[in-house]
Structures are given as C-alpha cells and as structure tokens.
Symmetry: C2
Subunit: 212 residues, 2 copies
C-alpha cells in the first residue's frame, strides 16, 4: 500500500484532492431532498452524507455544504421546517444527478430535471414519485459546523412510504430489492449486492448468520 | 406503496422499530475505528454513520452513540485525540462484526476478534492490517447532539493508505475494486456494483458519462 500524507494531499490540484478525499470515507446513501420555498415552488437537491442518529425518537441527519455553495434546501427548511428524503434508483439516476446543478432560486427543479411531484399524507412538501423509498421529516435543529461553515441538519421522521414486500419479518428493509443506490466521491453511483447479515455480536460467541 | 406514519412506527416492538428506522436512511460506509487507551491497549469499534465534511481542509465526521452504549472509542479519542478508520471487506466481515460486541474496557479487541495491529507512519494508534483502505485522523471537535445524547465527532485527515492502482487519473478512488463494504440497518453487509459516473451537472445541459 502507498502512504499519502496530508502534506502531499494538500499539495494536489484542487479537483484531484476533492475526488480523493470525497472517495476516501466510503460509499454514501445518496438521496434527493425535496423542499418548498415561501411561494410553494419545490426544490430538489442531491445529498449523500445522511446519518442515522436514533431510532426512538427517530432522528436522521444530513450534512449541508456552506450556504454559498448550497443555499436553497437549507433556506427552505429554515423557513418552514419540512422536507422529504427520497431514495435514488438506476431508472432515474441521470435525472437525479441533474438536480445537483445550480438552478436559480424559484425554479421548479422537478420540472427542470424531469421528475414528478407526489403530494400525499397531507404533507405540504412533495415526495419524488419515481422513488421507491420516501420519507418525510420535520426539522429538529440546524447545527453549524464552525470548522468549515457546513451544517448538520437533524430532523424527526414523520412518515415513510415503501412496498411492504421489502420488509423482513423483523422490520429490516431489503433496500437492494429496490436497487436503492449509493454514491462515491462527487459523481459516481453504485448499486449493492447482499453479502451477509449477522446476529448481534457478544464477546463470548461468534455471531451466526441471519436469514432475511 | 404503503404509508407508515410515525404514530404507527412508535407503536412497534422496539427491535422491529430499530431495524426499520436504521434501514430507512440507506446503505452506510461501514468501517472499523481503532483507538488506544491510556495504557496503549487498542480498541476496535464498528461505525457506519461516517460523513464527508470537507476536502480542504480534509474533515471527516462520524456519529457516536450515547456514551453508556458506546464508551470506549469516544473516551480514547477524548484522551489522546487520535484514531484510525479502516474499510471492511468480505474476507474479514465476521471478525469486523465481532468488534461490535461489548468487550470490557482494557481488552485488546484486535486479539479478541482475530485482526492484526498495523503500526506505521509514526502514528501511535494501530491501523487494521487486513484493511485495504486505511486512514488516520486527529480530533477537531466532539459535538454533543443534545436531542438524544449522541455525538458528532469531527476530525482532520493526517494519513491515507491504499494501493495506487485503485486511483483514477482524476483522484477518484475505485473502492469497488477493493470490495469496500456498506452496511444496512444494524447487522447487514453488502458489496457494490458500479452503475455510472456523471459529469458535474449544469442547468443548461445533461451531464455526460465519465470513464474512470
């Protein structure tokens, strides 16, 4: 293996370094976040730094880039506190990626990229109709990360939509059956292949395999 | 699709709900975090909520569960500020998963689970020898998430180790060639299959495919 020190990495050309560092921390759960502005016009953004924070209450977070680089999702969430997160699948990866383009504020990005607004469950923000796993969130807190002007946005789960056939008998969701995608770096997308599911690990015995 | 409201989800049995909510936000970049305690004894933990925070400076973060549930990694990082993050591959997934068991403080988890300490680059914390993508971090800030007593731990990249053959000409790392794994929910592991890499998206044109 080769050793890359931070001194070497910092000396690289900007995009080479960005590709390297963005890839290094691994594959990410890429999704489309949908919001609406004060006039009710929907916005879409591609987000991949999504974290599970807790199951009860059900908290999920995501990292938002500095406000100058990615203003619309955050300002819409600040204004009304509501957003939907929608998985991405190979059938519409080109349209989803296009939502990462910087459209002017007030442009309906569903229409621009060719995805369909799906209003339901009395939720004012649209879901992405083409997505097979959709969930609705209510803002809990926007935490500024002062070291580089990014934000951790934490919300509470309100609604989830998916096919019951994807659920295992213990509540686990077989996302590979919907081909929910992961992203790598700034622009690469992957599907997944199941490898193994293992029992809760205890110090005194090896964990056996679980059948879904 | 079926609608699952938060009222229904909150009424579910605890483990069913945990499996569902943990799966809902998608596949995660699962890795082993290695630390040492004051006596120099190494600890391993399985972490999957890892986020890219910035490329320059190179900041990477991870979510640590409440201190009672997951004390060792965090207290070691608090004590000396250093840790390594190591990708997981199918060849040692059983050993890696075993590192999620709650061993008593002061037990060498490398020996317990059957993985090998790898000391290099004058870094006091060991890397995981079996891992094909390893990186060393220095603590920047531990941010308490007050809504549920978890933590966002943000660090700065110091060293990275990987085979140069995994690097594309633009700095992108082809992690699928090393079979770096993703996890889903609390106990399922997957490998990935490349789908597409797309150019930087702009409002006025569809993004073409990139060849790695």
């Amino acid at each position: 293996m080769k050793h890359y020190s931070i001194d070497e990495i910092q000396g690289w050309e900007r995009f080479y370094r960005a590709n390297f560092v963005n890839s290094l921390s691994g594959f990410k759960p890429v999704s489309l976040i949908s919001t609406i502005n004060k006039e009710g016009i929907p916005n879409l953004g591609v987000f991949c730094n999504i974290v599970h924070i807790g199951a009860d209450p059900a908290y999920i977070g995501f990292i938002n880039r500095p406000i100058d680089a990615a203003p619309h999702t955050l300002s819409n969430i600040r204004a009304n506190g509501l957003y939907t997160i929608n998985h991405i699948h190979p059938e519409f990866i080109a349209q989803a990626h296009q939502a990462s383009a910087k459209y002017p504020e007030g442009v309906n990005e569903f229409s621009e990229v060719g995805l369909t607004e799906d209003y339901k469950a009395d939720f004012v923000v649209p879901f992405v109709l083409e997505s097979q796993v959709q969930y609705a969130m209510e803002l809990t807190e926007i935490i500024p990360l002062v070291m580089n002007n990014t934000f951790l946005v934490v919300g509470k789960l309100l609604h989830a939509f998916l096919e019951p056939s994807m659920l295992s008998k213990d509540g686990f969701i077989k996302l590979d059956e919907a081909s929910s995608m992961v992203s790598l770096g700034m622009d690469a997308y992957y599907t997944t292949k199941p490898n193994v599911r293992l029992q809760y690990a205890k110090p005194d015995r090896p964990a056996a395999q679980i059948d879904c």
